[in-house]
Structure formats: C-alpha cells, structure tokens
Symmetry: C2
Subunit: 286 residues, 2 copies
C-alpha cells in the first residue's frame, strides 16, 4: 500500500510532517524509557493524543489540564468541549485557549450527521475551529454530499466505525467500501475497540485500508465480541504490540487518540495507565 495523493494532501493540510512533529514534541507522548527519550519518539511515525470523549464529564479547562498532565500534545474535541452550534467568538476563544496550553486541536468529533443541514453545520464548525479533519458519521445516503463538501472545504472526513451493535459503519471495511469511489478526502477513523468487538483484528484493518486511514481511536476491550467493554489498555484482548508494530511498519503518520470510555467521572487513572502502556510498548519495540 502506498500513500495516496489525498494522504499527501492531508499531510500538507496538517501543515507539517508528522515525523518532524514527533521529533520536535518535548517530553511528548512518544518519549520512551530509553536514556534518550527523543530516540524513542523518533522511532515511531505517529503521535499519541486524546479523544476528549474520554473527559466528557469535565469542562474544557479541566479537559485541557488532564490532557497536559498525561504529557499529550494533541487533542480532538467531542462537542462536550465545543458545542456544534457555538457562537464564532466562543469557538475562537476556546481554540485560542487550547493553543495557549500547547495542545494541537487537530480535529473535532465524533460528529453525527443525519441531514445535509447537519453536514453543512459540521464543515462550517470545523472551518471556524481550524480543525485539520472532521471525525464523522454521516448516514450512508449523505456520503456523496459529504464528499462534495470535503472537496469544497478541503477538509478531510475520517469516518468512525462503531462496532457490532451499531448498523451504521460497524467496521473499517464497511466504511472503506462505501467511500472507495468517493473523493480521497473521505477516509477512516478506525476505532480499534469497536473493530475488535466486531471480531476483526485492527492490525489487519490498518493494513488493508491504510490508504484511507486518517485517524485512530485507541482503546482496549474485554472481549472480541459485542459484549466487550472498554478496559484500561493492556488489560483487554487487543494485541497492542502487534498494532504498534504494524502502524510503524506502514508509516502511519497520524494520531493514536485515546478514547477511554470507562470511569467517566474519574477517567485520569485509567487514561494514564493506557497512555503509559502505549509508551511502554513503543519504547520496548524501539
């Protein structure tokens, strides 16, 4: 699988080589346990980040603080932290606050879109906030319209898959097949938990659909079935070392955004354990 032209386009939109980002991020997500943490950071092409759904019970200021405490440098916002219908001045103020905290607010989502008006609103919102991509779930019928808007705004849309209990995009494959003929700005946000819960190995999906893989929600699940519940990364059934090896080999340059669904009122310990686990795997494989 080679990097498609839209993937290059996306990286251009992102404003920088992710490799350079990873190398530059001080004591970042990728700082490993080696005597030279920068060496471990440079060893993987991707960056760890936060999907703010994890912090949904907390106001935006606390969400920023918690993300910083975990040593992360990237965040994508669920609407709890920036309402889809927020006034332009609220959007500007919030975005400025995140930037001042040293975080890259790279995306918004997951944004569900059930009408053309909701697609329109999502793109206007993303443009106002300066998001580099939308993590979204349009209905199947809205995909051609979403594709047109992605071209118009030049903002990629990463389709988020949601597991065996949701008929809309249960797997990366179900999204890939529906966007393959559409504009290359339509891609995937692979939710590794929901993918595994569908009985599909996320490493295999990453490899198969890599040319459209724009973002990843990283988590772990207690079982590879619909009954699987989110657990701290490392305590579940997902083969995380295999996923990290696969993404490194493929040269995935996006984000692994932690979406820790457990402990909504007290998410920091489980989030920290999960991020620590990812860093440990990265350091050991470096």
């Amino acid at each position: 699988m080679t990097m498609g032209s839209n993937r290059r386009q996306f990286l251009k939109v992102a404003g920088a080589s992710a490799v350079a980002c990873a190398t530059a991020s001080p004591s970042s997500a990728l700082a490993g346990g080696s005597p030279d943490p920068a060496a471990a950071a440079a060893a993987v092409p991707f960056t760890l980040g936060m999907a703010s759904y994890t912090l949904r019970a907390f106001p935006v200021d606390q969400a920023i603080e918690m993300t910083k405490r975990l040593g992360l440098t990237r965040i994508c916002f669920k609407d709890f932290h920036l309402k889809l219908d927020a006034a332009p001045e609220v959007i500007a103020e919030t975005v400025a606050k995140v930037k001042a905290a040293g975080l890259d607010l790279y995306a918004g989502g997951v944004i569900y879109m059930k009408s053309e008006a909701e697609v329109d609103r999502a793109f206007a919102y993303a443009k106002a906030a300066g998001f580099k991509m939308i993590i979204g779930v349009p209905t199947y019928e809205l995909l051609p319209y979403t594709s047109k808007k992605a071209q118009e705004y030049d903002i990629p849309v990463a389709i988020h898959n949601h597991g065996p209990d949701n008929p809309l995009f249960p797997t990366p494959q179900s999204a890939y097949e529906r966007i393959a003929s559409l504009d290359r700005r339509l891609g995937l946000c692979m939710d590794v938990g929901h993918t595994q819960r569908s009985g599909v190995d996320p490493s295999e999906s990453a490899e198969k659909y890599f040319d459209r893989l724009l973002d990843i929600h990283i988590k772990d699940t207690s079982a590879a079935t619909a009954q699987g519940k989110t657990v701290e990364i490392g305590r579940g059934v997902i083969d995380i070392p295999k996923l990290i090896r696969t993404l490194t080999r493929l040269g995935y340059k996006g984000t692994l955004a932690l979406e820790y669904e457990k402990d909504d009122k007290d998410p920091l310990p489980g989030s920290a354990e999960s991020i620590g686990y990812l860093r440990g795997v990265i350091a050991a494989l470096a």
Copy 2:
C-alpha cells in the same frame, strides 16, 4: 550467576514459585496486551507490586483500594500503613484486611534501624505481620547483629540503597560488599531510581549482585545524577526495557514494587501511568 541456596530458601519462605504466582494471578499486574494475557504473564518470572510509600498520604483502606484499582496483587507496607509499634491486635486486623482484599502483603519497609533494640523491634514486627522479608536499612555497625537475627527468625532482610545524597548504602554495590560475608538471608532491595541517580545502571547492578537480589523498588528519575527527581516511569532516563529484559533473562522471581514519590496527595494517575508503562514493556518483549 546462579541462584544461591539462600535464594532457594527465600522462595521456600515465600511459599510458592513466583512463576506459578504470576501464571495464576487473574488479570494481574502482568496481564499483557496479547490476545492471551496469561501468555504475557507467564513470559516474565517476576510480579509487579506496590511499595506503599507511594500512598503515604492515605489511610490503609484507601491504599488497599488504590493498589487494587491498579490491578496489582502484591504490596509492601511502609510504617504509615502499619506502625512499627502497633499492638498485636492492630497488626492482626490490618494483615487480615489486606489478605481479604486479595493482596499479598509480602514485606515491610523501608525500616531504618539505628540500635539493636530497633533491629529486635523490626523482626518482632515482621514476624507478627507474617512478612516474608524486611526491607531495611540498619547502620553498617548493626549488620552482624541483623544477620544473626535474620538467621534466628529465618526472615530475609533486603537492604535498600538510597542514592548519592545519603552516605548509608548509596548503591547496591555498597550494600553487597558489606553483606557478602554475612548470612545469605541478608540481600538487596535495589532502588532503581537511587541507583541511576548514583550514575549506576540498575540493569548492571541487577546482574552483578543477582545472587543477593531479593526485592526491587521500581521508579524513574529525571536525571542520572543526585539532582534527578522521581517522574512517571517512561518519562525519565532509566532504560526500563533493558531492565525488564535483564531481569527476565536472569530469572528474577521477586517483586517490582512501584515507589512513586511524586504527587503524594494525588499519586494515582502517575502510578497508573508507571504501571501501564511496565506492562507495555513486558507485553512488547513477550
């Protein structure tokens, strides 16, 4: 280095092969990210645990709850959680509580001993609590007396090293040289942070002094000098993957007890990140 007779003796005292313990512990400290967590657990001979100094600002009930939340199954108690002069019924009640919580209260310490009376008290305390070892710091002059008592009680004493800013046992070497001619029940609790702060690679010390290595306090440090401060494991300068590889190769069957000194009023996130990091390294190397 082969396992000395006292090491076998210690394992006998411990009541079980640590390998068997590791394999048996359900969703334990060692559960890796592989589809079969038991496989990752079985891949390392040692067990992760908690040094309760980490939780010194919390009463014993909360310390137990926090340790359980981290998925750990072993704990050693600093005197904050069981006073050295506690009444026998308090000791019995506390030990029963820890056991009922499913934790193995394997040791007490660090216990400082500055007189024969303090050595006597430490052994009486350890016997009453059923500790499998004392993690201790007797003065250099008290080592022969401590050795005699260790024989008498058949309770090993793991000498804890304390770094370049403390003249008493700054490194594992400084302890090893002073106990080499004494009873083999005298061994080492290597504090990997203080070892690294002394400019010594803890992996090398583990290898050199393995025949007396009874326990390990695991942590990370921001610098390999006296100025180094405790940080979340993985954010510092210690080569943790090398240490895990070394201990696995040597067949270390003891505990890696987390002593996280930072954030004393809110230690759970940093502790969780540290334990997650260790599990990630273990899973990736499995």
